[in-house]
C-alpha cells in the first residue's frame, strides 16, 4: 500500500464528483429558464441514485468475478469483501475501497451525460427509472468488458485509459437513441431555443475541465509519471479543441462564440479520455485540434438528420468519444505506457482495427439496449411530460419550484 497513491486516488475521486454539478451547470445554462431546475436535478440526483445502486450491485456487476467475459458476478453485492486492503487486480497500491469509490464517480456521471439529449421534456419519474435500468444494463456490463478482469474487450487488447468507450461513446450513442425515441421538443423548428444563462454554462465547462484532471490522471491509479502525462495531455487537448472549435465557427459563421469555446473544451476532454494514458503531448495537440472540428461538424449534422439532441450529447460525446477511441489506435505509444500498446503511427496498424471493433460493439450495444430500456420505461410510466407540462416547464410541473423568483 502506498500513501501517496491512496491520497491521489481519493482526491481524484473528489475531483470527478465535482464534474457532476459542473455538468449540471453546463447543461442548465443551455436550456430555457423554465427548465433550469429540472435540468440541474437530472444530473445532481445521479449522485444519489447511482451511488446507492453502485454500492448494492453496480460495483460487483462491473468489477466482480468474471462470467464469460460478459459480466461480473454478484459476489461483491453490498461491497461484501471490498475493504481497506488492496485488491489483487485493481490498483495494487491503494485500498480496494478507494478504487471502488473512484469508479463510482464514473458510473454517476455517465448517465448524467445522456440527460442533455432529452432535456426539457422528460418526466422525472421516467427518468429515474431509466437511469437505474441504464446503469445496470448498459454501464455495468460495458465497464466490465473494458476494465473488469476477464472482460472481453480488455482481453482483445482494446485500449481505453479513462473511459472513451465506457463513458463517452456509451452515453453519446444512448443519447442518440433517446433523442430519436423521445422525439422533438414542442415547437422544434419554429421556436427559438435560446440558452438562458451562458455564464452558467461557461462556469460548468470550467468545473468539468478542472474535474477531468481527476478523471484522466486519476485513472493511472497511482501518483506517478503516467498520471502526470495524463494530466498534461488532458489539458493540452482541451485547450487545442477550444481553439479549433472557435476558429472553425469563426470561419463558418463569422463570429467566435463563448458557447463554442466551452463546447470545444469539453469536446477535447472527451476525445483525449481514452488516449490520455497512451499518447504524448504532440499527439494530444492533434487529437484535440481535430476534436474541435469533428464535434462542431457533428452538431451541424443533427439539424440535417432531424433529431432533437437538445444539448448535443451525440455531437460532443458520441462523436468526440468515437474519434478519441480511434485516435488511441493511431497515436498510442509504448514509449508513454509500456503496459499499453503501439498505434498505427507507431508501427502497429492492427491496434486501429481492435479500437474499431470496440467502438462498433459499443455503438451497437448502447443503441440497442438503450432503445429497449426506453421502450420499456415508456410502457411502464410514459417517457414524456404532457404538452401542457412541457409548456409550463419542468421546474414547476415536475418539482413545484421555480429557479428564479423576484
Amino acid at each position: 500500500m502506498n500513501a501517496g497513491d491512496t491520497a491521489f486516488v481519493l482526491f481524484s475521486s473528489a475531483l470527478v464528483m465535482l464534474m457532476v454539478p459542473g455538468l449540471a451547470l453546463f447543461y442548465a445554462g443551455m436550456v430555457r429558464s423554465k427548465n433550469v431546475l429540472g435540468t440541474l436535478m437530472q444530473s445532481f440526483i445521479m449522485l444519489g441514485i447511482i451511488t446507492v445502486t453502485w454500492v448494492l450491485w453496480g460495483y460487483s456487476m462491473a468489477f466482480g468475478p468474471d462470467h464469460a467475459g460478459i459480466i461480473g458476478g454478484l459476489d461483491w453485492f453490498g461491497l461484501k469483501g471490498v475493504g481497506m486492503e488492496p485488491s489483487a487486480d485493481y490498483g495494487s497500491t491503494i485500498p480496494h475501497m478507494a478504487f471502488m469509490i473512484f469508479q463510482c464517480m464514473f458510473a454517476i456521471i455517465t448517465p448524467a451525460l445522456i440527460t442533455g439529449a432529452f432535456a426539457e421534456r422528460m418526466k422525472f419519474s421516467a427518468f429515474l427509472l431509466f437511469a437505474i435500468l441504464w446503469a445496470t444494463l448498459v454501464y455495468n456490463p460495458l465497464a466490465h468488458w473494458v476494465w473488469g478482469v476477464g472482460g472481453w474487450m480488455a482481453k482483445m487488447g482494446a485500449l481505453d485509459f479513462a473511459g472513451g468507450t465506457v463513458v463517452h461513446i456509451s452515453s453519446g450513442i444512448s443519447a442518440l437513441a433517446a433523442a430519436v425515441i423521445i422525439g422533438k421538443r414542442r415547437g422544434y423548428g419554429t421556436t427559438a431555443f435560446i440558452p438562458h444563462n451562458l455564464p452558467m454554462t461557461i462556469t460548468g465547462a470550467a468545473l468539468l475541465w478542472f474535474g477531468w484532471f481527476g478523471f484522466n490522471a486519476g485513472s493511472a491509479l497511482a501518483c506517478n509519471g503516467l498520471a502526470a502525462n495524463a494530466f498534461v495531455v488532458t489539458h493540452v487537448a482541451s485547450a487545442t479543441a477550444a481553439l479549433s472549435w472557435i476558429i472553425t465557427e469563426w470561419l463558418h459563421r463569422g463570429k467566435p462564440t463563448t458557447l463554442g469555446a466551452a463546447s470545444g473544451a469539453v469536446a477535447g476532454l472527451v476525445a483525449i479520455t481514452p488516449a490520455s494514458g497512451f499518447v504524448g503531448p504532440v499527439s494530444a495537440l492533434i487529437i484535440g485540434g481535430l476534436a474541435g472540428m469533428i464535434c462542431y461538424g457533428g452538431i451541424l449534422l443533427k439539424s440535417k438528420l432531424g433529431y432533437d439532441d437538445s444539448l448535443d450529447v451525440v455531437g460532443i460525446h458520441g462523436l468526440g468519444g468515437t474519434w478519441g477511441a480511434l485516435a488511441t489506435g493511431l497515436f498510442a505509444s509504448t514509449l508513454i505506457n509500456p503496459h499499453g500498446g503501439n498505434g498505427f503511427f507507431f508501427g502497429n496498424p492492427g491496434q486501429l482495427w481492435i479500437q474499431f471493433v470496440s467502438v462498433a460493439a459499443t455503438w451497437i450495444f448502447a443503441f440497442g439496449m438503450t432503445s429497449i430500456i426506453l421502450k420499456a420505461v415508456d410502457w411502464i410510466v410514459g417517457l414524456r411530460v404532457t404538452e401542457e407540462e412541457e409548456e409550463r416547464g419542468l421546474d414547476i410541473s415536475q418539482h413545484n419550484e421555480t429557479g428564479y423568483s423576484f
Binding site: 427559438a192 431555443f193 435560446i194 440558452p195 465557427e249 463558418h252 459563421r253 463570429k255 462564440t257 458557447l259 463554442g260 463546447s263 462542431y296 452538431i299 451541424l300 439539424s303 448535443d312
Partner: protein
C-alpha cells in the same frame, strides 16, 4: 398634466436622463423593455444554429410633467436620443387625470 413615454436606445439613457434633470424634471421611471418596430430584430447563432430574435432591447422612460413643459421635454428627448439610425425609438404623449403623492396626500401639480 401629461405623461410622456419614450422608447429609446439603451445607450442613450444617460444623456436623456441628465438632460431632463438639467431642465428641472424631478423624477422618472425607467424600464428595460423589448419590442420591435421598423428596425425588426437580429440573428443569434448558438452552436451553429441560427435563430431570428424579433424583440430587441430598448429602454422605456416615463415622466409626468405640467402640460406647458411638454414641447420642451419632447424636444430634449428627441435631441439627446437621436442617432439618425433606424431604431432610435418613439415618444408618446398622453393626458394624466390626476397625481397623488402617497406620503403627504398632495394632489395634482404639487404632487408631480
Amino acid at each position: 398634466m401629461k405623461k410622456i413615454e419614450a422608447i429609446i436606445k439603451p445607450f442613450k439613457l444617460e444623456e436623456v436622463k441628465d438632460g431632463l434633470s438639467h431642465m428641472g424634471v424631478k423624477g422618472m421611471t425607467v424600464t428595460e423593455v423589448k419590442g420591435f418596430g421598423r428596425q425588426r430584430g437580429h440573428k443569434e447563432v448558438y452552436r451553429g444554429a441560427e435563430y431570428q430574435v424579433d424583440f430587441i432591447s430598448k429602454v422605456k422612460i416615463e415622466v409626468v410633467v405640467d402640460s406647458e413643459l411638454v414641447p420642451q421635454v419632447i424636444g430634449l428627448i428627441q435631441e439627446k436620443a437621436r442617432t439618425g439610425q433606424i431604431g432610435d425609438g418613439k415618444i408618446f404623449v398622453m393626458p394624466v387625470e390626476t397625481v397623488v403623492r402617497i406620503r403627504t396626500g398632495e394632489i395634482g401639480k404639487e404632487a408631480i
